[in-house]
Symmetry: D2
Subunit: 366 residues, 4 copies
Amino acid sequence: MSGSIFGKHFRVSTFGESHGRALGAIIDGCPAGIKITSDDIQIELNKRKPGTQNIYTARKEDDRVEILSGVFNGMTTGTPISLIIYNKDERSRDYDNIKNVYRPGHADYTYDQKYGFRDYRGGGRASGRETAARVAAGAIAKKILYAFNIDILCYTYSIGDICIDETKIDKSKVYENAVRMPDTQAAKLAKEYINSIRKEGDSVGGIVRCIIDHLPPGVGEPVFEKLEAVLSQAIMSIGATRAIEFGAGFDIANMRGSQANDNFRIDRHGNWEKGSNHAGGIGGGISDGSPISFRVAFKPTPSISLRQSTITNDMENTSIQIRGRHDPCIVPRAVPVVEAMTAIALVDLLFSHCLSRIDLMQKILL
Amino acid sequence: MSGSIFGKHFRVSTFGESHGRALGAIIDGCPAGIKITSDDIQIELNKRKPGTQNIYTARKEDDRVEILSGVFNGMTTGTPISLIIYNKDERSRDYDNIKNVYRPGHADYTYDQKYGFRDYRGGGRASGRETAARVAAGAIAKKILYAFNIDILCYTYSIGDICIDETKIDKSKVYENAVRMPDTQAAKLAKEYINSIRKEGDSVGGIVRCIIDHLPPGVGEPVFEKLEAVLSQAIMSIGATRAIEFGAGFDIANMRGSQANDNFRIDRHGNWEKGSNHAGGIGGGISDGSPISFRVAFKPTPSISLRQSTITNDMENTSIQIRGRHDPCIVPRAVPVVEAMTAIALVDLLFSHCLSRIDLMQKILL
Amino acid sequence: MSGSIFGKHFRVSTFGESHGRALGAIIDGCPAGIKITSDDIQIELNKRKPGTQNIYTARKEDDRVEILSGVFNGMTTGTPISLIIYNKDERSRDYDNIKNVYRPGHADYTYDQKYGFRDYRGGGRASGRETAARVAAGAIAKKILYAFNIDILCYTYSIGDICIDETKIDKSKVYENAVRMPDTQAAKLAKEYINSIRKEGDSVGGIVRCIIDHLPPGVGEPVFEKLEAVLSQAIMSIGATRAIEFGAGFDIANMRGSQANDNFRIDRHGNWEKGSNHAGGIGGGISDGSPISFRVAFKPTPSISLRQSTITNDMENTSIQIRGRHDPCIVPRAVPVVEAMTAIALVDLLFSHCLSRIDLMQKILL
Amino acid sequence: MSGSIFGKHFRVSTFGESHGRALGAIIDGCPAGIKITSDDIQIELNKRKPGTQNIYTARKEDDRVEILSGVFNGMTTGTPISLIIYNKDERSRDYDNIKNVYRPGHADYTYDQKYGFRDYRGGGRASGRETAARVAAGAIAKKILYAFNIDILCYTYSIGDICIDETKIDKSKVYENAVRMPDTQAAKLAKEYINSIRKEGDSVGGIVRCIIDHLPPGVGEPVFEKLEAVLSQAIMSIGATRAIEFGAGFDIANMRGSQANDNFRIDRHGNWEKGSNHAGGIGGGISDGSPISFRVAFKPTPSISLRQSTITNDMENTSIQIRGRHDPCIVPRAVPVVEAMTAIALVDLLFSHCLSRIDLMQKILL
């Protein structure tokens, strides 16, 4: 598993299993001079905590993050920043029901196939808990984006067939409801829906929307590190994702060129603008200065209490009923994770972009 | 632009502008002992040539690839393989109509924003012609996949709203028609549709399907280089892509867990199988041994002969009518490019996977 | 500071300042199936602890390492291995004498120049204490080398002008004396010499020798990752190094070809051998199967109690007398660090080598 | 062989065998806006051509470099720059005397061990001819350094025991004599010495000195990409190198701290200076603004016409007398190669350094 480092310049290295000693991240390549405290990171981590509403699992994840290095007198020093979150809940539980059985929709089978054995405690590294390290690292990335006035807005677009009305969203509402929807009415319906699904012992999927504002034009490195390519890797590396689309997405396949092309124009005040944004703010893999927009599909939580047929690791047919309380919908908790990975990917590409013109670099070094 | 190298172990570095001297690729990290000739690569390159049918542009791209290094006596030596394709059509044309105007849907504007100026001849590096180097490198990657019995099948799934019937596809037909559809009837309709679109001076988009067969279980490197993450980067780095989905894709967001989970079972002959494949052959970012399946959306060709409003590089409003013959649909020519990028990404992940267990590595070195 | 990750396949990411909360390392790309305990790592860490003899600083560095992830039931799982060493001695001391003064021979000045300010507590990340993380990660690398029967022997070759007699070295003695010399007589002289130097308030440098045995032929990746190139980067990244030489080293510049060339021959038993080893076991950047040998020069400890003239960070002339007890010679403590970095570099190149021939890779995947 | 790409930001990928079709390089990550012509590169390539004096081989290497991409209207565009040098002398010669024999001091044996077979024509990729691609890429790197006023001076320090007098060197003389010595008298002696060595059918080694002037303070990325570490990898990756030392080098091992420490001081004009430069301009792996200085040892040319005992690839004892005219000393031709690799490594580290402080980056992006 040589894939736990993300980025070329701003390199995030994560570690940790669901029920191991700790999770965390090291960030190599964070510039010096950024004000940061562990509270700044804690705020982001708290966003992925289960809400107070009864739609969430009762497991108490009181994640406390600590900064172990790279920050001195409240300021990044330029040296690697190490972040750690100890697992409170490490005690050896009874894993007999999952130790020898491959849970459908989980990575139990593929980890055994790849490595010959697995850390079966709570899903090991394949647990959603791994994303805590992403969110912690993302908090640092967001601080950097703020220094360049770049904003990221993520929210739940739909849960099952309950979809928000995007014509009247209210950004400020996202973290005011447990489902992370910027539409109070849809949020109410979605909560009720999730509750009914849980009562049936089942789960449901959904879609997350992400919008990046004030990204300067020029970000993205053709031809393999185009903005949409790097964002796609970042986002599709999050567990339970199955699809991503930018701008008009799959609908563009059914458009005509005359319709899909976003026309440029200069408005009466002399400002550059586009007549539409089907491309999602990207041209040739490079940001054009308009908002970047993408949507991500998440599958339903694989852990359900309904009985499912499956196999043992001795390759015998069996069935399993997954005990414990599980989120019937992971989408709301995925929202800050999408935000974090977007921030991490953007910072790395921003740094690449700093190196794209000799005249700009001379401003720094001469 | 520091993004023209793909991969960690099998590293493909491409270069070349549409109307520069040449395009090409260097592959660093190709193992020794693979039989390869320039004909093997030429066969792949020919797949992206315009068809003989009148649906395609008349530009004669007689791309001839040459191997400059890394192959001796018909066998890869382990040293970097250099592939070159000279541009026949390099002569200085009249670019006055595009030199100072930003074509809608093209990368003219973003390149100028990023680099301060651009090579405006034929789109420079942002031209679809850049993909020739990808296809050439992909031919080597495919040779490696064959050595492990891994197959990739790509085809046109839809053009506009003309969609193939996937219940009765015939793989052998893909390269027998100009639209790369494995369904003769749909292919006929699609050709007629493209012709009518061209007559209107417009263009149309479509969807490509890719299926990977016989990929061994275990391929994919959590947590950032999961199989779907790396494939997403590889595919979304191709020009004109706007969306990618694996397995059930966006539809999974509306499923319940009891429906979305792919159950494992042992059949009467003792073989492992799954009841469904909504996950697209991937669990926890690692291949499970079943077919990998994904779909990619391509936008309509941005070059259309209908007059479009746009701006000049002096930021004045203007309009443009793009001269010359352009493909009204790039989807058929994208099919071998999707295949090539899939092959390149898979080889890189296969190589990572070779390093995942000490007992397997001892087989090589002891 | 984007340079705290070493390696391509076996990637070691370190963090930590001298007087911060903790130091540590994450290893991404360690194969599954290697038996390891924290004791295995502790043994290596103890090798860099000050000896009991009075030649060393009295600072009690009771470094205890903990494994936070990547090991389950005593076996590596293939996921990232996180190692942590908490600093016992984190309390805020009086740093007033070094806070505003640039100590000669230290990195105070260059860190301020690079980052605008620095963590001045005990040298921050530029402290020799940083090497604890290297040694911890190196312990894992050594476990991997053992799985392939590869041995590394490092020892002190000289301290000042006290040099061991390499014709009669006894490997078992290296860690039996405080100066890490495999020659009891030289060790005795060196200890006396170091003691006399300390009494004068001064310090002294020395040379470390490293010999790698049983490295299979074929290791090293031309043209930029040749065996000697990667080892040079690894070793010269250790603080206080100033020179490295392989085989005959600088002496080769004064040899003739007829003398310098190592002749191959087959001995009476049919075994391959060489008449000499001036090349240090490397041909064209690739191991030839004979012992790899190199020497590294370390400068004297920069912290001395003699008064030195220097400048303040306000760019005023001043002088400084460095308080506290410091090792008058860092060479003995550098020996396990050279060993660790050699192990880390070798593992990474061994892994690259596993991917050099298609027939060998088929052994793993078919 | 996955080692033919150097650098993280300014990435140089080289290819080519001695008697293959061509050699060349792709540079990914060169900023836009640098004026460059093929003549600028040709000037550098000519520096490694054999001199007109009879001390060099008669082989006519009329290397002509062509720029295939990445430059438009005489300016770099930010896209990959591809450089190609066709081999004139590709015709199939008679290689029977080296095809089945392992030449002492050459890489024939190790390449066969690594890859199972080799391109035996003229040494294949292990030939010194590979360095032509390094010099071509280095020419671009030097253009970038000039934009920041950074100078590199390389020259022959010694050939055998003929050493220049460094107290009275004249930079302008380096390329005025065939041995690349900035000391006319030593140059004359060295030429005579090389001629006498050649008459004996033997060869000789030597030492190259490199001095970097006007490098700003702050360059180098602790802890693994320190300035001396990256330079060491870059330089030790050149064929025939055996040792490198910075500043006082190996001599520092025998110094005391009071002697080795370079004291800082402010001179009467308020300028920063150092009392000595034993560290070679580097502190803690970071440049301090004073000149960087290192020396590199090169072994004698392995190809000599004296008969040498060796083995065949069937592992039988034999002897070989190497035909053809070979340089009896490669040191002079190594001088521009050391310069090129130094330039490439410095550019990559300069680019890293641009990303070290948020306030500096804001100058670019805000």
